[in-house]
């Protein structure tokens, strides 16, 4: 890909909680149209980066450049309307509303100004629900559907906002292997159809390998490696972060 194809630049971004450096001087770029895996063990700072980039937490220092503008001082709703949206690690459905209403809210307040009209927005919501395969559940209350369906609903809800960049925060958590497989296929298919850029956050290495074009590995709030899935999986620093020093040595000796 060419150099000018960068859609999102994260530049020496830091987030401290008191003395804890949850994210420490992290920099990486996201190319237009790719799936970038953001991985690391629990507590590496993956969700904190997501929260800072999407405006939920204020940054400590650094900058986030999205399509030539610094968005690191904007509020979550402003960032979302610009076309950078997210899903949540723990699903946050709008309780008391149906699946269709949840998705409708996404399309009403999304990037596409035509959808401020109720009719257009409803049409859009139904299309997206069909795209993720939730048609049979569209009139169910979100409190009545299963976790895999909730995750699909949340995915549909952010898609309805017509984003350019989508942060998927551990969408696979809590799903069984068959459901993980189904979800991966869905994410890949939707990415192709909508020409989305996806930052895919996951702590299970296996889930992220098959889906990502490139991977950024975090550990203790710092970026330790960046590269293709193959490069990352063979990197001793990554193995060390996940499995400890002794195991990393053994692998290196064998290799």
């Amino acid at each position: 890909m060419e150099e000018n194809n960068i859609i999102l630049t994260i530049k020496s971004l830091s987030k401290y909680f008191g003395a804890l450096k949850a994210v420490d001087e992290v920099s990486f770029e996201v190319k237009r149209g790719e799936i970038l895996g953001l991985i690391g063990p629990n507590g590496a700072g993956k969700t904190t980066i997501t929260n800072v980039v999407t405006g939920t937490y204020p940054k400590t220092s650094g900058s986030v450049i999205f399509e030539d503008t610094d968005i690191s001082n904007l509020k979550p709703y402003q960032i979302a309307r610009k076309g950078l949206t997210r899903t949540f690690q723990v699903v946050k459905p709008l309780i008391g509303m149906t699946v269709e209403e949840n998705v409708l809210v996404g399309s009403l307040y999304g990037r596409d100004k035509r959808n401020t009209d109720m009719k257009n927005a409803s049409k859009r919501a139904r299309e997206i629900i069909k795209l993720v395969g939730l048609e049979s559940k569209k009139d169910s209350l979100v409190s009545d559907i299963t976790l895999p369906d909730l995750k699909k609903m949340e995915f549909a809800r952010v898609l309805a906002m017509e984003p350019e960049v989508l942060f998927l925060d551990e969408v696979m958590a809590g799903l069984n292997p068959a459901e993980v497989e189904e979800a991966s296929i869905l994410v890949k298919r939707v990415r192709r159809e909508k020409e989305l850029t996806i930052v895919y956050i996951e702590h299970i290495m296996k889930a992220v390998m098959g889906i990502s074009d490139r991977i950024v590995v975090l550990h203790h709030g710092r970026k330790i490696v960046e590269g293709t899935p193959q490069e990352v999986v063979n990197n001793s620093a990554v193995i060390e972060a996940y499995l400890g020093k002794r195991y990393a040595k053994e692998v290196n000796n064998e290799g």
């Binding site: 979550p76 709703y77 949206t85 709008l94 809210v105 009403l108 999304g110 906002m161």
Partner: protein, 320 residues
């Protein structure tokens, strides 16, 4: 579905027509009771918008009632006509709601509720002490309409009915709009709403301004109707408490809930009052506890559940 909607609109229009002509068939006492019911329904509707739909319980909402009443009293005392003073009263209440709302609507849950009580108390204290403008703790009088009491009471009955209908219709249209989905999302999950492109602060402030608008008009009408108001009476926190109970009994987050609740509570109160003169509040309180226990979603919620269950049963029968 379409048919159902037509039937509903027809029933509502019939209801309004019945209420317009009702004063001809009942005593003056009942005209006044029903006027109060309309008034409570309006205030409760304002709380319903904030709490039933948006999840922010405005315990101090009586302050807008008080502001509406006092601006009307002061304005008419200076010789302005009621219709000239009404927009001033509404505008003042909206300004107060925005001024207080910008900082206070950042608080969530109980903290917001408590902060609004504080604001209501602060306003009461200002009105009590600014004696030269407000008449102080003694209260103040308004010009009396130069007609027979019966005509006057009918006039306020119709005005309050119109206010109730307009309030309910406006809130209904708001809830069905994009803005309505925005405030319902805030109740459902404010963090998710924010990350979905909803400017939550803006939505909360505007919703409270709308709530203040209708509550203050109710206060303005009340002041003109009573022709005498005291600060403790119109800034009474119990006005909010009563209308919160009305909303809960009728059904929070339901458009007809406050109206149904206002009728049920007020008529219940009338019956209880006439049979248990001494223990009237105790009996009423216990009745409310019992209702909340057995009908937690309010009357409209219980009806909706009943209809849903029956539909499910019918569907099962068909599939068998």
């Amino acid at each position: 579905m379409f048919n159902n909607k037509k039937v509903n609109i027809f029933l509502i229009i019939v209801g309004i027509i019945i209420f317009i002509f009702l004063p001809r068939f009942v005593s003056g006492y009942w005209v006044r009771v029903i006027t109060t019911i309309f008034m409570y329904a309006v205030i409760s509707q304002g709380i319903n918008l904030m709490s039933g739909y948006m999840g922010y319980l405005p315990f101090g909402n009586a302050m807008f009632f008080g502001v509406g009443a006092y601006i009307t009293a002061i304005g008419m005392g200076k010789g302005l006509s009621f219709l000239a003073v009404l927009p001033l009263a509404a505008l003042t209440a909206i300004l107060v709601s925005i001024l207080f709302g910008l900082p206070v609507l950042r608080l969530r849950g109980h903290y917001f509720a408590i902060a609004t009580i504080g604001m209501s108390g602060a306003l009461l204290s200002v009105v009590q002490n600014a004696t030269e403008i407000t008449g102080g703790a003694m209260g103040t009088t308004l010009p009396i309409i130069d007609k027979s009491p019966e005509v006057t009471y009918n006039y306020f009955y119709l005005a309050m009915l119109a206010l109730m209908v307009i309030t309910t219709l406006t809130i209904y249209l708001i809830i069905k709009s994009k803005f309505g989905f925005g405030i319902r999302s805030i109740k459902a999950n404010e963090e998710a709403a924010n990350s979905m492109g909803i400017n939550t602060t803006y939505h909360k402030v505007i919703a409270w301004a709308i709530s203040a608008l209708f509550t203050s008009i109710a206060g303005a009408l009340y002041a003109y109707w009573m022709s005498f108001i005291g600060p403790e009476e119109v800034f009474d926190v119990m006005i909010a408490v009563n209308t919160i109970v009305i909303m809960l009994i009728g059904g929070a987050g339901s458009i007809l809930g406050p109206i149904i609740g206002a009728f049920v509570i007020s008529l219940l109160s009338e019956v209880v009052w006439s049979t248990f003169l001494e223990y009237h509040l105790a009996v009423l309180g216990i009745t409310i506890i019992i209702i909340v226990f057995f009908v937690p979603k309010g009357i409209t919620g219980a009806i909706a559940d009943f209809v849903k269950k029956r539909e499910l049963r019918l569907r099962k029968k068909v599939s068998v």
